[in-house]
């Protein structure tokens, strides 16, 4: 019985960890994509015409 509880508790923790980990990767991934796009803007020559 204790073993079953421990397994359930461990399963929930694993699930929470996986969820957080996925959320972290999604957030970091989007942030990195935006950073890449920003870097491209930064190194690109400014337009010839005034905005």
């Amino acid at each position: 019985m204790y073993g079953q509880q421990a397994t359930a508790s461990g399963g929930a923790a694993t699930l929470a960890y996986t969820g957080l980990n996925s959320a972290w990767w999604v957030t970091a991934g989007i942030g990195l994509v935006f950073a890449g796009l920003t870097l491209i803007q930064l190194v690109r020559r400014p337009g010839a015409m005034r905005p």
Binding site: V26, T27, F34, Q41, L42, P51
Partner: protein, 402 residues
């Protein structure tokens, strides 16, 4: 829309942008295959230019707008002020101006009142025009505007419409943030050589393109009664017929900014809900793909911001928050780009650059942007399923106290 924008408020000596000889002015790049607009424009000097000025309770600013129109190097042939459901003295003030100013004092149904007012004036006064200029009654054009627009249409038969480069004058924080945002939009449009919106605030459209939309879609007039962003819808209808729309390299328009967060929220929700509703209606095609990308990027930015805060809070609560300095590089990158763009803002001063370098003001604006992107998508999707749409024009008027 409520503040007075008089020609005297404009910065002296800076009204004509890129003041070089016309031949020296840069030509926007051409991409893809554009169709020539049917119906030729008359020889230089003989084009008929009609300016439409829709005005709803704009007594405070209409005089300044009309003075700028009459001060043009190339004076328009007719200026129609459409006083639309006004309860103030807009029509009376406009009537004090001499010909070619003409005042139409109209009462139209409040729903899509601006489109109805524009269509009414277009039916009566624009069918024999070559170029139709749309100008909001709180917006001022520099003296080169109409002459440059006519020259653009003469030079490029594939060009159906040309929008202004918008600049807001003022020193308060919200105005500076909006000025920076509009400068970025203009920069992108000029680089691309096309735009997906001929902003009704100040633009010129070839009459034959407007007529083609009306004939093709069987409408009352060019401006739609089904869209909350009638200028975006009209631009799409013009572009899907294979014509080009651009932001003018030389015509700047000085317009009013939203002075309060509530007014800004009202304006942006109207734009954003209207854009989403229209995109859902248009679907995905070669003309809307860049707008879909922009929507996707806006939503992704919202997810990233909310995710970042939520994860930080959860990690703090669990006691597992660790700091990796490498992530600071991202902030440095974003600030560097903001500063670089701030240096390109027209009529900027040091504070515009300092604000960009401080990160927090731009971050505040980015959070607002994330909020209206998310709220607008939610509202548009719910409206699509319930077949109910809120009158965002009325809500914006209330937010601005008009």
């Amino acid at each position: 829309m409520t503040a007075v924008l008089m020609s005297a408020d404009l910065p002296a000596g800076s009204l004509v942008d890129d003041a070089r000889p016309p031949a020296d002015r840069p030509t926007p790049p051409r991409r893809g295959t554009w169709h020539q607009v049917p119906g030729r424009i008359r020889p230089p000097g003989a084009e008929r230019v009609v300016v439409l000025v829709p005005a709803h309770n704009e007594a405070a600013s209409i005089a300044g707008t009309l003075r700028c129109v009459l001060d043009q190097e190339r004076v328009p042939d007719l200026v129609v002020v459409i006083a639309n459901n006004c309860t103030d003295d807009t029509a009376g003030i406009a009537a004090t101006f001499p010909a070619p100013v003409l005042v139409l004092d109209v009462t139209v149904p409040r729903s899509h009142g601006k489109s109805r007012a524009l269509n009414l004036a277009w039916q009566r006064h624009c069918t024999d025009a070559d170029v139709v200029v749309c100008l909001d009654a709180d917006t001022a054009l520099p003296p080169n505007a109409i002459g440059d627009w006519v020259a653009e249409f003469q030079a490029d038969p594939t060009l159906a419409g040309s929008s202004s480069k918008f600049t807001m004058l003022g020193g308060d924080l919200l105005t500076r943030l909006q000025r920076a945002e509009f400068a970025r939009w203009t920069d992108t449009s000029l680089r691309r050589g096309w735009t997906s919106v001929l902003a009704g605030t100040g633009c010129a459209v070839r009459q034959s393109a407007l007529q083609a939309v009306v004939d093709g879609d069987g409408r009352d007039g060019p401006w739609s009664y089904s869209s909350q962003v009638e200028d975006f819808e009209l631009t799409y209808r013009i572009r899907e017929r294979g014509w080009r729309c651009q932001v003018s390299p030389t015509v700047r328009a000085y317009t009013d900014s939203m002075k309060t967060v509530r007014a800004l929220w009202g304006q942006r929700m109207k734009w954003q809900v209207g854009t989403v509703e229209d995109l859902l209606s248009f679907g995905a095609d070669r003309w809307t793909l860049p707008d879909w990308r922009q929507q996707f990027a806006g939503l992704a930015a919202a997810v990233c911001r909310v995710g970042w805060v939520a994860l930080t809070v959860v990690a703090l609560l669990l006691g597992v928050l660790t700091f990796h300095p490498v992530w600071l590089l991202l902030s440095v990158l974003f600030v560097a780009n903001d500063v670089r763009q701030a240096l390109r803002i027209p009529h900027r001063d040091r504070l515009d650059v300092v604000l960009a370098a401080l990160l927090l003001p731009q971050e505040f604006f980015a959070w607002m942007r994330a909020a209206w992107f998310t709220a607008a998508w939610a509202e548009a999707l719910v409206g699509r399923f319930t077949h109910r749409s809120r009158d965002r024009w009325a809500m914006q008027y209330r937010a601005e106290g008009v």
